[in-house]
Symmetry: C2
Subunit: 231 residues, 2 copies
C-alpha cells in the first residue's frame, strides 16, 4: 500500500496533506485498495454512486452505454486520476456510467459519506479534504463552462477565437502553447480537422494570429477590424 503514497499525495484531493498524516487518515476514512483484472467493472452503471475512486495502477475508461447497448468512452483514466466524485457528490441514486479496467488495475476506494462527515476527533484533514473537493468541483465547473463557450460559438473561426482567447487569458499572455494536437483540438471544438486547419491558415493569412505546431500567438488587434472605428 505505501508504495502508492506518492501517487495519492499528488492527487488534488489530498493537496496540503503531509506524508506523515496519510496513514492515519486513510485508516480513519476506511479506505480500501482493490485489484481488478482486465475488463472488470470497477463501478457498474446502475449501481450506487457512494464511492470515490483513484487509479493507483493501470488504465481504465469511463463508459456510457445507451439504450441499445452502444458503448461510448467518455474519459480515459490514467494513474493518479480520480473518478466517480461528481456522481457521489451529486448524490445520484444510480450510476449512469461504468468504469471499466482497460488492463490490470489497482484502485483506492473512499466512501464519500466518510469523506464528507467530520469524524468525532474533528481531525483537521477532513476539513482540508472537503475544501479540496469543493475546489475540484468548482474548477471543473469553470473548465466545462469554458468549453461550452467555445463549442457554442457559431462557425469554426469563432470557435477557434473563443478557445484561443481563453487560453491567452489563462496564460496571461498572447503567446501560449495548447495541450492539443490538431485532431484533439478539432474534437474539443466539435469541428472537422481539415476544415479547421484551413480556417487556421486563413486566419494566419489575415494576420489574426500566428502559430507553429501547438504554439500560438494572437495579434493584439485580435478580432477588431479597424473599420469598426470609422464613422
Amino acid at each position: 500500500m505505501n508504495q502508492y503514497f506518492d501517487i495519492i499525495l499528488k492527487s488534488p484531493l489530498f493537496g496540503g496533506i503531509r506524508r506523515g498524516e496519510l496513514v492515519g487518515m486513510l485508516d480513519c476514512l476506511r479506505a480500501s485498495v482493490r485489484d481488478y483484472p482486465k475488463d472488470a467493472a470497477i463501478f457498474l452503471a446502475g449501481g450506487p454512486a457512494t464511492r470515490v475512486g483513484f487509479l493507483l495502477r493501470g488504465n481504465a475508461q469511463v463508459v456510457r452505454e445507451d439504450v441499445f447497448g452502444n458503448r461510448t468512452i467518455l474519459t480515459s483514466l490514467a494513474q493518479g486520476d480520480m473518478f466517480g466524485e461528481v456522481f457521489a457528490c451529486a448524490e445520484v441514486e444510480t450510476l449512469p456510467v461504468s468504469v471499466m479496467a482497460a488492463g490490470k488495475c489497482v484502485v483506492l476506494l473512499l466512501d464519500y459519506k466518510k469523506l464528507l462527515t467530520t469524524c468525532s476527533s474533528s481531525c483537521a484533514f477532513h476539513n482540508r479534504m472537503i475544501e479540496n473537493m469543493m475546489r475540484i468541483l468548482a474548477q471543473k465547473n469553470l473548465r466545462l463552462n469554458e468549453k461550452i463557450e467555445a463549442v457554442s460559438a457559431r462557425g469554426t473561426r469563432a470557435k477557434l477565437l473563443t478557445y484561443l482567447a481563453a487560453q491567452a487569458r489563462r496564460a496571461g499572455s498572447p503567446a501560449f502553447t495548447i495541450p492539443f494536437n490538431r485532431q484533439e483540438l478539432a474534437d474539443y471544438l466539435a469541428v472537422d480537422r481539415s476544415a479547421m486547419s484551413a480556417e487556421l491558415g486563413r486566419m494566419q493569412g489575415e494576420g489574426l494570429l500566428r502559430y507553429d505546431k501547438s504554439r500560438f500567438e494572437l495579434a493584439n488587434n485580435m478580432g477588431v477590424d479597424d473599420e469598426d472605428y470609422l464613422e
Copy 2:
C-alpha cells in the same frame, strides 16, 4: 430581514434547514443584507471572489466584459437565485465577471470561508450547508456535461436527439415537456432556429418522434434503423 426568510429557506443551499434555525445561523455566518440601486455593481470583475450572493429582491445579470469592452450577458438572475458560488468555491483570485443590478436589488451576502469552516460550536447546519454546496456544484457539473454532449454532437439532428434522449432519461419516460421554447432550444444547442424547426419537422415525418409545442414524445425505436439488424 425576516420578510426574506421564505426565499432564503427555498434556496438549495439552505435545504434541510428549519425556519427556527435560520436566525442563529445567519448570525453565526455573519450574513449581511445590502441594497443596490439600478446599474450598481454587486460584484465587480477584478475584485475578490470571497462571497456568495443571493438575490432576495429585484433582477440582476452576470456579465463578462472582453478586452475591448464588449459586454456579454452570461446569466440573468431572478429572486432566490444564488450567484458567485462557483468562483468562491474555486478560490479564484479575481472575479472574471461582474454582477450588475438590473433594477433596485436586495442581496444576501455570505462569506465563503465562514460558510466552509465549521464554527467552534460545530453546529450541525454547517455540515448540512457544506453537503448542500457540494451537491449543488456536482449537479451543475452534470448539467454542464449534458449540455456539452448535446452541443458537441455533429449536425442539428444529432444535437436534437442527444438533447431529447437526455430529457427522456431524466423524465424516466419517452414523453416529456422541455423547459424551452424553440428559440431558447436553438440557442441552447447553438443552431439556427428555423433550420432546427425544419429538422424537427423532418424527424416527425420520419416517425422518430412527435411533438406539440414543448411536449415531445420519442418513438421507442428511436435512432435505430431496422436495416441495422438485417444481415
